[in-house]
């Protein structure tokens, strides 16, 4: 590196030469700190890895238990990963246009981003929704909104992922009734609801009910979907948000798998057989900056899941052992400074996800620290995957890094560290108890603060932020959502409500309330309510009135 030609203006001082920056680091260009070489999670790295670092014992090929090297023998030769770009904004009609645009440009699956009122179970016309409608996702309050969202999209041929948690089962009910009214059998539907409420308490914070009743909604969904919508992924157990909230890779791995084990235990406690629902559990991980650590994380996740499902929970169906996952590149690594650099970050992160054997992938748009993605930024993000898929040659070989001294050693280390953290949660009394104690979110906040400290001190390099900065950056074009979106959506919803058979709506909502009070299947009641045009907010209000609401204590992190 020719240090003299590289501008390096640090936020505090400015103008220092690279290599003698604020942290006084002289150890060389590649280290993360001035003391030692380590991964982003803080795992120390040796000077070099050799055959001696390879774990003992066999390393079965891809497609064989414990699936460290991948869940399929042929991996991407058999089928490429699904290119699934998370998108949603404004009204259902606007998002439908974006969906069609992405499909026309070669996207192979859909992924819906909902707005905050929808995520929290409120209709667009609720007072609390004011100002939030269609802002960070699409507003879906009713069956009619769902129908507009998927108009002209062949539900039996495109798989759909819906990032929704508290009210996941209600949105699934809308989707099912929409399919029913189009004459598409539920057996033909493929898709995913995120439905991972535990990580909402840790990180994303869009909940509907307290933890215990939430777990009941989830087990009701597992049961109903196993019988009625057999190709549907009923929970996408998500580390993504945990990582975005500031966790390390090891914490992401451990907390996500611990959440997964909690769902397995809840399903079994509700009387389901593990092999009846575990094959439909899928995962969602972050694809962050530390290239090898990320690949090791995915490999360790597969092995840990397979072993635990088989050995601890007695799953006998190999499909229960296979951890399938979606990956999304790390939004939190994107920078507002020099946004074009984000394209490069995303490409490396996507490569890590593919080398780690993901089943589907979202690549972020370069402008996401500024606003929702513009059409051109969303297209470039999709092109990034297409170049990886069809130009790089990477997908031709399953787990091409298998046997790499460093990667195998790191995979083992990640698995060991994550297992220790999972055990800590078990010793605490399980994940619900850890949620009650605020353990997970406190651990995440601690890591987030630590990372921020490293960035502020310059110990951790963020190109364009604390090194290689540039003055006077040109603003990029962004997408903005006008106030007319909310007005249009609220008017549409009011008209929908006025056109319904009020008696049937009342009867269906009473059914939801009865199911909530009793033990009959909630998803069945939601489907019935959806058929009779009850809205999301109406159903959720009944649930809240019977099962309660949830508030997280605010200041506990200060006392940690």
């Amino acid at each position: 590196m020719d240090v003299k030609t590289v501008p390096n203006v640090t936020p505090g001082g400015g103008g220092e030469a690279a290599g003698s920056g604020a942290s006084g680091r002289a150890a060389g260009p590649a280290g993360r700190g001035n003391v030692s070489f380590q991964t982003l999670s803080g795992i120390p790295l040796k000077a070099c890895y050799t055959a001696e670092d390879l774990p003992e014992g066999p390393l079965p090929p891809p497609g064989e238990y414990p699936f460290t090297r991948g869940v399929h023998a042929t991996m991407y030769r058999g089928r490429l990963w699904t290119m699934r770009q998370f998108s949603g904004f404004g009204t259902a009609r606007q998002t439908n246009e974006r969906f069609r645009f992405l499909l026309a440009h070669g996207e192979s699956g859909l992924s819906v981003a909902f707005d905050l009122p929808t995520l929290m179970g409120h209709d667009s016309d609720a007072p609390v929704a004011s100002g939030e409608v269609g802002r960070c996702g699409v507003a879906v309050s009713s069956l009619e909104d769902m129908q507009a969202l998927f108009e002209g999209i062949p539900l039996d041929r495109v798989s759909t992922s819906m990032t929704i948690n508290g009210p996941a089962a209600i949105l699934l009910a809308f989707y099912l009734v929409m399919a029913e009214e189009r004459g598409i059998p539920w057996q033909a539907l493929r898709g995913t609801i995120q439905n991972d409420i535990l990580k909402e308490y840790h990180a994303q914070h869009t909940w509907l009910l307290p933890p215990e009743p939430s777990m009941r909604v989830i087990t009701d969904t597992l049961r109903y979907a196993a019988e009625q919508v057999p190709q549907w992924n009923t929970i996408s157990i998500s580390g993504y948000h945990i990582r975005e909230a500031g966790s390390t890779a090891v914490q992401e791995l451990a907390f996500t798998l611990a959440d997964g084990f909690a769902y397995v235990e809840a399903g079994m406690a509700a009387g389901l057989k593990v092999d009846d629902f575990a094959p439909r559990l899928s995962f969602f991980f972050n694809a962050h900056n530390d290239f090898f650590e990320e690949i090791a994380k995915y490999r360790a996740a597969r092995r840990l899941w397979a072993r635990t499902l088989r050995e601890k929970y007695g799953a006998a169906d190999p499909r229960s052992w296979k951890l399938r996952f979606h990956a999304q590149t790390a939004g939190c690594t994107l920078t507002a400074q020099q946004p074009a650099n984000n394209v490069v970050r995303v490409a490396y992160q996507a490569l890590a996800a593919v080398l780690g054997g993901c089943q589907s992938l979202h690549t972020n748009s370069m402008d996401e620290t500024l606003a929702l993605p513009s059409e051109s930024a969303a297209r470039l993000a999709l092109r990034t995957q297409q170049i990886l898929a069809w130009e790089s040659g990477v997908p031709q070989i399953p787990d091409p890094l298998g046997g790499c001294y460093f990667l195998e050693a790191l995979t083992d280390r990640m698995e060991a560290e994550a297992s220790a953290l999972v055990r800590r949660i078990e010793e605490m009394g399980g994940m619900l108890e850890a949620v009650r104690r605020g353990f997970v979110r406190r651990e995440i906040a601690r890591s987030a603060a630590e990372e921020q400290r490293r960035i502020e001190s310059g110990e951790q390099v963020a190109v364009g932020v604390n090194r290689f900065t540039e003055p006077d950056e040109k603003p990029v074009e962004i997408l903005s959502i006008g106030p007319e979106v909310e007005e249009e959506q609220v008017a549409r919803l009011r008209s929908f409500k006025a056109r319904r058979d009020a008696g049937r709506v009342r009867e269906a909502l009473a059914g939801v309330e009865n199911a909530a009070r009793g033990t009959s299947n909630l998803l069945e009641a939601f489907v019935h309510a959806a058929r009779h045009r009850a809205t999301l907010g109406e159903i959720c209000d009944r649930l809240r009135s019977v099962l309660g609401t949830y508030h997280q204590e605010a200041e506990s992190f200060f006392r940690a």
Partner: protein, 145 residues
């Protein structure tokens, strides 16, 4: 982290950090709250999902010198003006309000016109935010006493 004051300030500054609306992204708010606390300020953190009404009430009750609003949901042009109006109605318009989050440049300007003291967007450093908060809170305290 260079957030310690060069000259120790005799009066502790009391600031409210608030998450407004339905937005659940609190990584930034917690980091800011902790940084201000580490810089010697008294910090009240509201927690998640606060309405403008709740925040205005807390600001008045807690007699804070500054309100810092964190919002990444895009609802800032509805919720922040509402908060300013409520503070004014409660004779608390002198409490400076700063906003941090994903805010397009044109929206920052619009909010500053309405009376928001500063807007911080992604890329702002902790030392920059801490210094600005300290200055605004000190001015507010001096004006009030």
């Amino acid at each position: 982290m260079n957030t310690e004051p060069s000259v120790p300030t005799p009066i502790p500054r009391r600031v409210l950090i608030a998450k407004i609306g339905l937005d659940g992204h609190d990584r930034g708010a917690k980091i800011i709250a902790a940084a201000l606390r580490d810089a010697g300020m008294e910090v009240v953190y509201t927690g998640l999902h606060q309405t403008p009404e709740m925040i205005a009430a807390t600001a008045v009750q807690e007699d804070v010198d500054l309100v810092g609003v964190s919002i990444l949901s895009g609802a800032h042009l509805t919720l922040v003006p509402k908060l300013l109006k409520l503070l004014a109605e409660q004779q608390a318009a002198d409490i400076p309000v700063v906003v941090g989050g994903i805010i397009p440049r044109s929206d920052s300007q619009a909010m500053e016109k309405l009376g928001v003291a500063r807007v911080f967007t992604p890329g702002a450093s902790l030392s920059e935010i801490t210094a600005a908060v300290r200055e605004l809170a000190s001015k507010a305290r001096a004006a009030a006493s």
